[in-house]
C-alpha cells in the first residue's frame, strides 16, 4: 500500500511555460484557409484524405464489378483495370490512411492531449498540409494525362512499371513518383512537428508515462515514418531518373517488342528492397495510431483503466523497432537466399508477440468492465475482432513454405485487407464518432452510426472471408479476368459475384456516414464539453470546440495518468487528468495501488493493472 501526503504544497501553480508566439489571423482566409492552427490543419487534412479516399473507394467498386461480372462493362479494359487497382492501393495506404492518422488525428489530438497551445512550428505545419494537397492534386492529375495513371500495381515494381506496354508508363508513373516525393516532403514537415511537440511542448506534470496511448501510438508511428519514408523517396527519385533520363539504377538490360532498350544491368531487386524497407514499416505507421486510439476508446467506454499501460507502451516501442527488420517477408518469392527467408520469417513471427500482448490487454480491459456499447466502442470492438482475424492469417503468410504457393492469390488480398485496410478504417470511424463532438460541439447521430457500423462490419466479413477461400482455390490476384482455368471450379465465379454485391453495399453505406457528418454539423445534439466523461485533456478545454490556443488563459496542470476510471472511493467514475488530488482529507490520503487490486477486483468495475 502506498500513502501519499497531500497538503497545500501539492498544489502547484499553473504552468509558467513560455507562451508560444501564436499567429493570430484576422480574416476568414487566415483562419480557415492559410491557417496555422493545428486544429484547422487537422480538419483540412481530414477532409482532403476522406475526399481522395472516396475516389479510391469508387475505384474499388469498379474493380469488384469487373471481378464479379466480367465482360459486362465495356469501359473496364484490362489496362484501366490495372490502373484502378494501382490507384486504389496507393491512395488508400498513403494518401488516405497515413495522411488521416498522422496529419488528421495527429494534428488535432497531439497539442490538445499533451496540453499545448499548438504545434511547436505552426508555419511549417501549415506548409505541410499544402504540400500534401499538392501531392494529392498531382496524383489526381494522372487520371487525366495521355495514357492515364500508372497501372504498375501499388508496389510499382520495375522493370514493368516503366516499360511500354504497362498502362501509364510515360506520364502516369512520373506523376505518381513525383507525387509520392512531394507527399514525403510534406509529411516530413508535419512529422517534425508531431515528434518535437510531444517531446518539448508537454504541459507541466505531463510526463511521458502520463501520455494517453493515442499520443504514444501517433508519436511512434511518426518516428517510423520519418525514418522509413526516405527509402520510398530514394526509390522514387531513382526510378524517375530511370524513366526520364535513361539511367539504369533498377532497369536491367532487356529486349522489349523485339527491340534492345538502352538500359544495362540495373537491379529490380534493389527496388524491391528499398520499397519494402519503407513498405513494411508503413503497415505499422498505419497500425500504431490505430492501436493507440483503440486503447483509449476501449478504456473510456469500458469505464476501466487500460490493462497493462506500461506493457502497452513497451509493446509500441518493440513493434516500432522490430518493424524495420521484417521487410523481406514481402519478397519470399523473389528468389532470395533460404537463410534470408529463415531470418525474416523468424523476425516476422517475433513481432507477433508484442502485437498479441496488445490484443490480450484490450480484451482484459474489457473483462468485467462497465461496457457502454456506444458507436465508437462498437467500432473499437469490431477492430479487435478484425485485427485478430487478419493477424492470424499473417502467421500463415509469414512462413516461407506457406507463403510461396499463396503469395500470388486472393488469400494475400484478403489477409492485408483484413489487417491493414478494414482494421484501421474501423478505428478511423470509431475515432471520428468519438472526437466529432469536440471538433464541432455536436454529437453524430446514433442511429445512423449504428446502422453504419453493422453494415460495414458484417459487410467487410462478407467480402473478405470468402476471399481467403478463393485464395486457397488458387484464384490469382491482379487478374482482369480468369478465362478457363482447369483447377478453379466455376463456383468460384459465383462467390466472386457475392463478394462484389457485398462490396457494393458496404461502399454505398459509407454515404450514410458522410451524410451523418454533414447533417449532424447543423442538427446534431449539442454535446457539451465532455460527452463521453473522459479523463484526457482535450475534453477539459474551456470551450468546445476549443478556440485558437486550445486552453483558457493558463495551461492545465496534469496530476495523474490518463486512465483514472472507476477509481474506488471517487465521487464520479472518472477523474480528469488535470484534477488536483482531493483537498478534503487533511494529511494522509490513501491512494489505490497495485497491491489493492486483489480486493478491488472483486467489484465488477475498477481495479488497476
Amino acid at each position: 500500500m502506498t500513502y501519499v501526503a497531500h497538503d497545500e504544497s501539492d498544489f502547484v501553480r499553473p504552468a509558467e511555460v513560455a507562451e508560444p508566439e501564436l499567429y493570430h489571423p484576422k480574416t476568414f482566409i487566415g483562419k480557415y484557409i492559410w491557417s496555422q492552427d493545428a486544429k484547422v490543419i487537422a480538419v483540412q487534412y481530414g477532409i482532403t484524405a476522406i475526399a481522395v479516399g472516396l475516389v479510391a473507394l469508387a475505384l474499388s467498386g469498379i474493380m469488384r464489378l469487373q471481378l464479379g461480372f466480367p465482360h459486362s462493362f465495356s469501359f473496364i479494359t484490362p489496362a484501366t483495370y490495372l490502373q484502378y487497382v494501382t490507384m486504389h492501393g496507393m491512395i488508400m495506404v498513403i494518401y488516405l490512411l497515413t495522411a488521416l492518422f498522422l496529419g488528421g488525428f495527429g494534428n488535432y489530438l497531439i497539442p490538445l492531449m499533451v496540453g499545448a497551445r499548438d504545434m511547436v512550428f505552426p508555419y511549417v505545419n501549415m506548409v505541410s498540409y499544402w504540400v500534401y494537397l499538392f501531392a494529392v492534386l498531382l496524383l489526381m492529375a494522372s487520371l487525366f494525362v495521355p495514357g492515364g495513371p500508372t497501372g504498375a500495381g501499388w508496389t510499382l515494381y520495375p522493370p514493368q512499371a516503366i516499360l511500354p506496354g504497362t498502362p501509364g508508363a510515360n506520364w502516369g508513373i512520373i506523376l505518381m513518383l513525383v507525387s509520392l516525393a512531394f507527399f514525403i516532403i510534406g509529411f516530413t514537415m508535419g512529422g517534425l512537428n508531431y515528434v518535437v511537440t510531444v517531446l518539448q511542448a508537454r504541459t507541466r506534470g505531463m510526463t511521458m508515462m502520463r501520455l494517453p496511448l493515442t499520443v504514444w501510438g501517433i508519436f511512434m508511428a511518426t518516428i517510423l515514418a520519418l525514418l522509413a519514408f526516405p527509402a520510398l523517396f530514394v526509390s522514387a527519385i531513382m526510378m524517375t531518373l530511370d524513366q526520364a533520363l535513361g539511367t539504369s539504377f533498377f532497369m536491367p538490360a532487356l529486349v522489349s517488342k523485339g527491340e534492345h532498350l538502352g538500359y544495362n544491368g540495373g537491379s529490380p531487386i534493389l527496388f524491391q528492397h528499398l520499397f519494402w524497407f519503407f513498405g513494411h514499416p508503413e503497415v505499422y505507421i498505419v497500425a500504431l495510431p490505430a492501436f493507440g486510439i483503440v486503447s483509449d476508446l476501449i478504456s473510456v467506454n469500458a469505464r476501466k483503466n487500460i490493462f497493462g499501460y506500461r506493457m502497452m507502451v513497451w509493446a509500441i516501442l518493440a513493434i516500432g523497432g522490430l518493424s524495420f527488420v521484417v521487410w523481406a517477408h514481402h519478397m519470399y518469392v523473389s528468389g532470395m537466399n533460404p537463410y534470408f527467408g529463415f531470418f525474416f520469417a523468424t523476425t516476422t513471427l517475433i513481432i507477433a508477440i508484442p502485437t498479441a500482448l496488445k490484443v490480450y490487454n484490450w480484451v482484459l480491459t474489457l473483462w468485467r468492465g462497465d461496457i457502454h456499447l456506444t458507436v465508437p466502442m462498437l467500432f473499437a470492438i469490431g477492430f479487435v475482432f478484425t485485427f485478430i482475424n487478419g493477424g492470424l492469417t499473417g502467421l500463415f503468410l509469414g512462413n516461407v513454405p506457406v507463403d510461396i504457393p499463396l503469395s500470388g492469390t486472393m488469400f494475400v488480398v484478403a489477409h492485408f485487407h483484413m489487417v491493414m485496410a478494414v482494421s484501421p478504417i474501423l478505428v478511423v470511424f470509431g475515432a471520428i464518432y468519438h472526437w466529432y463532438p469536440k471538433i464541432t460541439g455536436r454529437m453524430l447521430n446514433d442511429t445512423m452510426g449504428k446502422f453504419h457500423f453493422w453494415v460495414t462490419f458484417l459487410g467487410t466479413y462478407a467480402i473478405y472471408y470468402p476471399m481467403h477461400y478463393l485464395g486457397f482455390l488458387g484464384v490469382p490476384r491482379r487478374y482482369y479476368a480468369m478465362g478457363t482455368t482447369a483447377f478453379i471450379p466455376e463456383s468460384a465465379q459465383t462467390l466472386n459475384e457475392a463478394i462484389t454485391i457485398a462490396a457494393l453495399i458496404v461502399g454505398a453505406v459509407q454515404v450514410v456516414f458522410i451524410w451523418n457528418l454533414i447533417w449532424s454539423y447543423w442538427n446534431g445534439k449539442p454535446s457539451g464539453g465532455n460527452p463521453w466523461r473522459a479523463t484526457t485533456l482535450e475534453w477539459q478545454t474551456t470551450d468546445t470546440p476549443p478556440k485558437h490556443g486550445n486552453f483558457g488563459p493558463t495551461l492545465p496542470v496534469v496530476y495523474r495518468w490518463a486512465y483514472d476510471y472507476s477509481v474506488p472511493g471517487a465521487p464520479e467514475d472518472f477523474i480528469p487528468q488535470n484534477q488536483p488530488p482531493s483537498r478534503k482529507t487533511k494529511g494522509l490520503e490513501k491512494v489505490p495501488d497495485a497491491s489493492d487490486l486483489g480486493t478491488a477486483a472483486v467489484k465488477p468495475q475498477g481495479g488497476h493493472s
Binding site: V12, Q200, G205, L241, G262, S267, L274, G321, P581
Partner: protein, 223 residues
C-alpha cells in the same frame, strides 16, 4: 541494406533507450502529484528548434544511409566500372571544411555578441559554400566532358545522384543562411541571431560529415 540497417538499428536503439529510461520503474497509476518542474517531465532542456533540427538530421541521415546501401548493392552488378573521381573534389572538400570552420568561428562571435565578426563570418561561410557548389558543378562538367555521363554506367549515375542530393541539402541550408545573413546585415543584434547561427553551424558540420562519408564511399568504388 546492411548500412541502412546498422544505422537504423543504432538510431532505434537510442530512441528506445531514451524512451525506456522515461518509462522504466514509473507507475503512473500511483503517482498523483504534478511534477514540480517542467524539466522533470523528460523534456529536453533545448529550444524546440534545436530538437527539430536534430530530428531532421536523423531523417536526412536515414536518406543518405539508404542511398549508400543502394550504392553498395548496385556495385555488386557485373557491369560496374571503377569510378574515375575528378581531382577537383579534393579541392572542394577543402573548401567545404573552410565553410564549416567559418561557421564555427561565426558561432563563437555570436556567443560573444560581436556583430561585426558575425557579419564577416556569415559572409565568408556563405562564399565558401557557394564555391563548393560551383566546384561540384565543375566536377560534373569534367565527368561529362570525359564521357562519364549520367547514363553511361550506374557508377556514374550514382556519382551524380549522391552529389546532387548532398548539394540540394546544402542549397536548403543556404536559404536559411541567406535569411540569417540578411538579418545580420540589417543590423539585428548578435543576441537575437545567435540561435540561427548555432543551427546553421550544426547543419554545416553535419553536411561536411556527410560529404566526407560520401567522398570516401565514392573513392572506394571497387572495379
Amino acid at each position: 541494406m546492411t548500412y541502412a540497417l546498422i544505422f537504423l538499428a543504432g538510431l532505434m536503439a537510442v530512441v528506445v533507450w531514451w524512451l525506456v529510461r522515461q518509462t522504466i520503474n514509473v507507475q503512473p497509476w500511483v503517482e498523483q502529484r504534478a511534477a514540480d518542474n517542467v524539466s522533470g517531465d523528460g523534456a529536453l532542456s533545448l529550444p524546440p528548434v534545436k530538437v527539430g533540427l536534430g530530428v531532421f538530421l536523423a531523417v536526412a541521415t536515414s536518406l543518405f544511409a539508404l542511398l549508400i546501401s543502394a550504392y553498395h548493392m548496385r556495385m555488386m552488378g557485373d557491369d560496374w566500372v571503377r569510378l574515375p573521381v575528378p581531382k577537383v573534389l579534393w579541392l572542394n572538400t577543402v573548401v567545404l571544411v573552410l565553410a564549416s570552420v567559418a561557421m564555427q568561428w561565426t558561432r563563437g562571435a555570436a556567443l560573444r555578441e560581436q556583430a561585426d565578426q558575425v557579419k564577416t563570418g556569415m559572409i565568408a561561410a556563405g562564399a565558401f559554400s557557394f564555391a563548393f557548389l560551383a566546384g561540384q558543378l565543375w566536377a560534373w562538367q569534367q565527368m561529362d566532358a570525359a564521357g562519364y555521363f549520367l547514363t553511361a554506367n550506374p557508377a556514374y549515375s550514382f556519382f551524380f545522384l549522391l552529389t546532387a542530393v548532398h548539394g540540394l541539402h546544402l542549397l536548403g541550408g543556404l536559404w536559411v543562411w541567406a535569411r540569417t545573413t540578411n538579418r545580420v546585415v540589417r543590423g539585428a543584434g548578435a543576441e537575437t541571431i545567435r540561435l540561427s547561427v548555432e543551427l546553421c553551424t550544426v547543419y554545416w558540420h553535419y553536411l561536411l560529415a556527410v560529404w566526407v562519408v560520401l567522398f570516401a564511399v565514392l573513392l572506394h568504388s571497387h572495379t
